[in-house]
Structure formats: C-alpha cells, structure tokens
Assembly symmetry: C2
Homo-oligomer: 443 residues x 2
C-alpha cells in the first residue's frame, strides 16, 4: 500500500442478489481489485449480501461476506455505505430500494424495469434524502451510454437517439439474415444458448427495449420517465422473406428503440425498422447493442458494446460504484443529477401520439398476377398523397399465380398509412395480410 | 428563472483563442444556454477573451466580452474562474497554462500536442495547486472517449484500444477506396475542402494521431504520458492498388493508433493497418473518428463520432466545462484524477520496442514471371518461421512480364519481418520495393 492510502477505510457495500449479475460483480471486484483501488482511491468491500436460497451453487466466492435471506437485513445494516440492487423485478426491489434510501444509503442498480416504471418516485426520494441512485447497468449492459448522454453530450440539445438495446432480438434478426432461418427456429436456439428466457415475451415483444428507451429518452430530453407512453412493437411478425427483400433493397431490419424531438412533441417508439445498410448501426450484429445519439452540436455519435451478460453488466455496476465512491464527499447539489438536468428544470414534454409520427414504410403483399393491379395500388397511394420511393415485383414461382410486391414509401404520417392499410384491405386483388415495417434513414 | 437558480452567480470564463474552436464554443454557449443551465445548474458566461488580432472577422459575436491581445491579461483576471485554452501549439500555450494554474484557475483545453508532450508537468502543477485540467476535446473531437476510458470503463483492466483518430487521414483512405483515386489527388482535394492543412504533415505522417494515442494510452493503462515512445508511421506510402487488393481479400486499410498491454510491455503504435471488413470500425468512413476499447470485463466497446470541426470540438469543451462547474464544490481528492488513476498510483509501464511487437502482415511485390519464383519466396518465409496465411498472384497485364504477388502472413515478430524484408531485398526475381502494411484482427 502506498502513501495516502493507508488510513483510508474501504467503502462498505451491501449486495442484494447473488445471481448472474451479483455473482459477476463479486468476481469483478476481486479480479480487478488493484485497478479499482488505483482509480477509486479507496478499496471497495462487499460486507453483506442476500439471496433467496443461500444453499444454491454460486459463480462467486462469498467467503468473508455476511449472508442473509432477507434483503432488509442488508439495507438496515448500519455499516453498509452503498447498496447494489441486483435482484431485479419491481415489487420487492422497489420496497427495498425505498427503504435503503430512507436509511441514507447510496444505491447502484441494474434494474431497468424498476427505473423505467418507478424512477420518478425513486429519484424524488433519493433527492429528498441526499443520496445517489446510479443505474448505468440498466441500459445497454457494459456500454457507458447513461454517462455519455448525461455528461459526455451535456453541451448538446439532443435531437434524436436510436438504439439496438435488446441483444436477444438482435441475435434473432442477425441469424435470420445470415443463416436464412425462420424466427421461431432461431428463437428456440437462442433459448438453448441461454440468450433468451424460457418466456421470451420481454425480449421479442419489445418490453425490455421500451424500459431502456424510456430511461434514455428522459435523460436526452430532460423530462420525467414516461414508460407508459412508449409505443411498443416486437419482432415476432418479421419473416425471413422480409429480411431478404430488405437486404436486396440495401437495408437491414433491426429492432430499434427511437426517441426524437419534433415540433409537436417527443416520439417514443420501439419497433422493427429498415435502416440503410451503409449506416454503421445497421452492421451491429449478434447479441451486441449500440445506440446512436444525434446532438445539435456534435452531430451523430455511436456507442457500441455488449448489452448483457454477467461481466459486461458488472462492468457498468462497478463503474457506477467508483463514481459513487468519488462523489461521497461532494455536496449533493454538485452531483450529476439523476436524469442529467436538475430536478426543478425537468420539463414535462408532451409525447407525440403514434398516429402523428412520420416515418417511411416498407410494405410487402401478395397480389393476383393480372393486368392493372399495380396501377390500382399506386393510384390508392396517390389518392392518399403517399409517395412511392421504390416498387419491386417478384416473379411468381412456377405454377403459382400470386406475385409478391414490395413497396417503399417516402415519409408519411402514421395516420395516412393506417388509412392506406384499410383501403388495401378492401382490394380483392390482394391476397392475405399486408406486412408493413417502418423505415428510417437515421439522418 | 426558477426557484433555486436566482441567487446563483454564473461561472465566469476566460477564453484564450477566438479561432474556429473558440468561436464555435462561444456560439454553442449562446445557442444551447438553456440546456446548459438545466444541466450545470448555473449559467456559464465568457467575460474575457483574447486573440492575436482583434480586428479579424469572427464566426461569433463577442459583444459584452472584454477583449485583449495578451492571454496573460485573461489568466490574470481575478474575476475569471475557468480558463478555456483554445490557442493550440506548445510554446505560448504551455506558459499561459502554467500561469493560469499558478493563479488557481481551472482549465479546459483542446490542445492535444500540449497534453501529449507536457501533460505530466501540467497535471503535476494542477494537482499541487488543487485545480482541474480537463481535455476531452483533445482526443477525437466530440466523442466522449476520455470520459468513457476514465470513468465509463473504470472497472476494467484495459487490454487494448485501437482508434481512427485523424479525420483527414480517414477521409483520404476512404476516398482512395470509394473513388479509386490516388493519395496525392485526394490530399489536394482535402486541402481545398479545408479538411487538411496547407502543411499536412501532422495529419498524413501520423503525428496528430500519435498525440491522441499517447493520451488515451496513459488513461487506459494508468501510466504517465509517453508521447516520445509512440512508433509513428503515416499513410503517404499507401497506394490505391493496396486499397484495392486489401478489399479483394476482405480487408480495409485504416490508419490506426493502437495501444496494447502485453506480457513484455505496452505497445504504442500508429500506422496504416489492414482490418477485417466485418469489424465495425472497418466501416467508419470519411472524416469520422472511432475508437475500439477492449476491457477485460466488458469486452470490446466502440465510440464513434465527428473527430474535428468547430461544433463537435466545442461540444467536448463545454461538456468539460459543465463537469468543472459541477466539481467546483468538491474536494480536490474526490475529483476524477487527470489520468484516471490517482497520481501516486500511476505505474511507469515499460514500452515494448517496435521490433518486439507482433502483428500479421500484408506484403505486395512485383516479381519476374518465371517458374520457381513463388517457391523461392515461400521457402524464404519458411526458413524464418513466418507462416503464410494467403497468397494471391495477379495475372500480368498484356505485354508485361512482371506479376504482382500479395502475401498475408500470420502473426510474426517485427524483428523477423525486418529480416524477411532484407532477404527479399536480395532476391533478383523481385522488382523494386516490397510494400508491407501491418494487419490486425482486433480480437
């Protein structure tokens, strides 16, 4: 130990949850102890932890750590300075977190659902009590995107952000493209590999991405969390035909969370999206995450890395922990505010209704192979003042009478597109449902 | 103005230099004043500025700002809290910065040459005086890479980093590939467009990139700045043939700054590099910058954005300024240390000599079209225990007797490659010089 360190007590940590992330965090604190000491200026020691079942095998060594089954014992431990909330879920986690705040503990959490849905309440409690709630690990795993938005781009008015923020969804779409496989087939493999949960709803229906988008958008635009206003659409209806046709036209299909400031309100939406293949984010594959942020001064910036997993998530948890250690001696008012702007300066921005959102569209339909069908189709769009950017008609396979038509529209208000879909639904030359996927240039 | 702000005095800033970055910073502070106030919690006001020639036309409005031609008047102004050093260069800038530190001013600078070459002296002076020297804008313009390395990845032991950190060089290489043009031709255009200086040495010879690499490496590995130990090679010898052949083999040529921790020491090197085209950073084109950082826990992460220009650089300058405003009331020992680790914990890592560095290689040569030449060549490599990964022999154009051979080697110590080059130099079947460019998988 060198001069200046000897009399400095280590910071004492209470850890809630000894699962993948909790165990990964203990391992990281052990393996990188020297590096962390050099950076934080103090040691960091987990002194008390809890788990539902203390007899379960663990990925980490818990020797020297007091163990409880009741999280309240950890948050009530007077020796603990900082709580790491790595239980997940919303019920017990919320109660325990509020109790920890009441006890004057600083908190580091990886719990995106909790922050997205109860963040306003939690941050208000933390501000009243003068403690920090840090949540870098809640969004995009190991990528320091919360720090990037909240501090790195603090000089900018953020215009929009768009992110691949669910690794499972991106793995499925990447495999569908690279291996020409069906959604269900790849999902089953993702479950076997442990990338997808037994119940994959949160991932493939976009709920997980909506949690993360809500958090990023609040920081980007300096507004309270508005998770319940996020339009959320999953990837279950994307077919490998769509992936292939998109590719032929120079696009990739990615499941994006998008937040954009417009003159009429903030857009908050999660859905599959065609993006030009020359965009860097179109080339983010497999379980990796990436977020593009467009600032009015810096222009577009992109942040890429592992969005999940024990070690990347622990990397974000411990980065927050080091921040907390550094901030311990700072006055609460000089700390970085939870949502980037000071609480009194949060603006209650209005959220744009989905039918007012403007995007371009990819449409795929099967039509009867007879003269005049394409003319009728394009007339329908012209009547609704929807401009067509590209039309591709696929030769029918031998012996088939239906041809596939792909249309790319120019930017159009969602409301107009809903009308178009109704009119297409009435055309008897169109067989079955029309597939529509939004298309963004990200410029 | 809302409650809680009214009695808070704005932070008073002295600005050295009213050129592109200085003017851009004034414009940003005006245009985004409201956003900055919401984030910093205090207003920020430039009260005093200097420029060599006060009559020169400016990109910004200097009304209400005291103007001097002598920077010392600004740093001696007792009302100034923070100095923005945006003069550039090393002579006067160094003297003025040390004087500002002596006067107890915090400093924000975009001066990469100054930090790379005199950072150790400057940080020591700042630490002794208890002031901050912030330098996000010195590396990769608007990308918050210093913050990412110093804070976002603070929980990691960094294994390596590799960056496209000179926009001019990347613009030239991108144009050579996309438009099949020669180096000299594109350079002339870059100069016309204002991307390259009249004297392009700093950009095309890699010196600018070496400055930035030295800064990033010190933070990544927690060591003092070692600019004079960076191996530096420019892009002037890259031909469009090399760009084309690399492409045919599935690679792109990028001018990279690379820092890597090995068992024998730290590698610090700037040179043109073939990288697999499926790597995200291989697709970073034009004047854009990007840095890949591999942490032992988080794995690879990437940071992308504009590396130069008035507005992106001002974005980084003002982000630093907001950090300084937030840190004003914190005790010096709780601030983020200049190089990420606390000064007493800096390690004087040894730098690996270039002839001990291990990389793969791309080699291009012209040989006489006669039997046995390829056998002689491959025998030479085998004798030196250099493994060949791929060989491509190009048909000679009609009427020509020389054929072009491209070789990709497996990873080999630089020393062995130097020997191989000597032996190839003696082979009379080889016509002219052998081109060698390093190749990295970045894994």
């Amino acid at each position: 130990m060198k001069e200046g360190e000897e009399n400095m007590e280590p910071v004492k940590v209470g850890l809630l949850g000894l699962g993948t992330v909790g165990g990964g965090t203990i391992n990281l604190l052990q393996e990188n102890a020297e590096e962390i000491m050099r950076r934080a200026g103090r040691g960091i020691e987990v002194i008390h932890a809890c788990a539902r079942d203390l007899n379960k095998p663990r990925i980490c060594d818990t020797e020297g750590i007091s163990l409880s089954t009741d999280p309240n014992e950890v948050v009530d431990n007077p020796d603990v300075d900082v709580i790491l909330e790595l239980i997940g879920g919303e019920g017990m986690a919320r109660d325990v977190m509020l109790r920890a705040i009441e006890n004057g503990k600083h908190i580091v959490t990886a719990n995106k659902a909790l922050i997205a849905k109860h963040g306003n309440e939690i941050f208000a409690a933390a501000e009243a009590r003068g403690v920090i709630v840090a949540f870098e690990a809640a969004v995009a795993g190991g990528i320091p995107i919360i720090k990037g938005l909240r501090e790195g781009l603090a000089a900018n008015r953020i215009e929009w952000l768009a992110g691949i923020i669910n690794g499972t969804g991106n793995f499925i779409l990447t495999e569908m493209r690279d291996e020409d496989r069906d959604f269900a087939d790849v999902l089953a493999e993702a479950q076997r590999l442990g990338y997808a949960e037994a119940d994959p709803t949160f991932d493939v229906e976009g709920i997980d991405a909506a949690h993360k988008l809500a958090i990023m958008a609040s920081i980007a635009f300096g507004m309270p969390l508005k998770f319940d206003r996020v339009y959320t659409e999953g990837i279950t209806h994307v077919t490998r035909d769509d992936v292939t046709f998109a590719e032929e036209l120079g696009y990739r299909i990615k499941h994006l969370g998008i937040a954009r400031r417009t003159w009429n309100g903030i857009e908050l939406r999660v859905h599959p999206t065609l993006i030009p293949e020359r965009q860097l984010i179109a080339n983010v594959d497999g379980v990796m995450n990436a977020v593009v942020v467009k600032g009015n001064m810096v222009g577009p910036t992109l942040y890429y890395g592992a969005g999940a997993g024990a070690e990347p998530t622990a990397s974000a948890v411990v980065a927050d922990l080091i921040d907390v250690v550094r901030a311990l001696s700072c006055a609460p008012e000089s700390r970085v505010p939870h949502l980037g702007v000071h609480p009194h300066a949060l603006a209650d921005e209005s959220i744009l209704a989905m039918d007012e959102v403007e995007t371009a569209y990819y449409l795929r339909m099967q039509v009867v192979d007879r003269p005049g069908v394409l003319a009728d189709l394009t007339r329908t769009f012209a009547d609704l003042e929807i401009s067509i950017e590209a039309v591709v008609q696929k030769e029918p396979p031998p012996g088939e009478s239906l041809v596939t038509i792909i249309l790319l529209t120019r930017t159009v208000q969602e409301r107009q597109m809903v009308k178009a879909m109704e009119m297409l639904g009435k055309m008897d030359a169109i067989f079955g449902d029309v597939t529509r996927i939004r298309l963004e240039y990200l410029q």
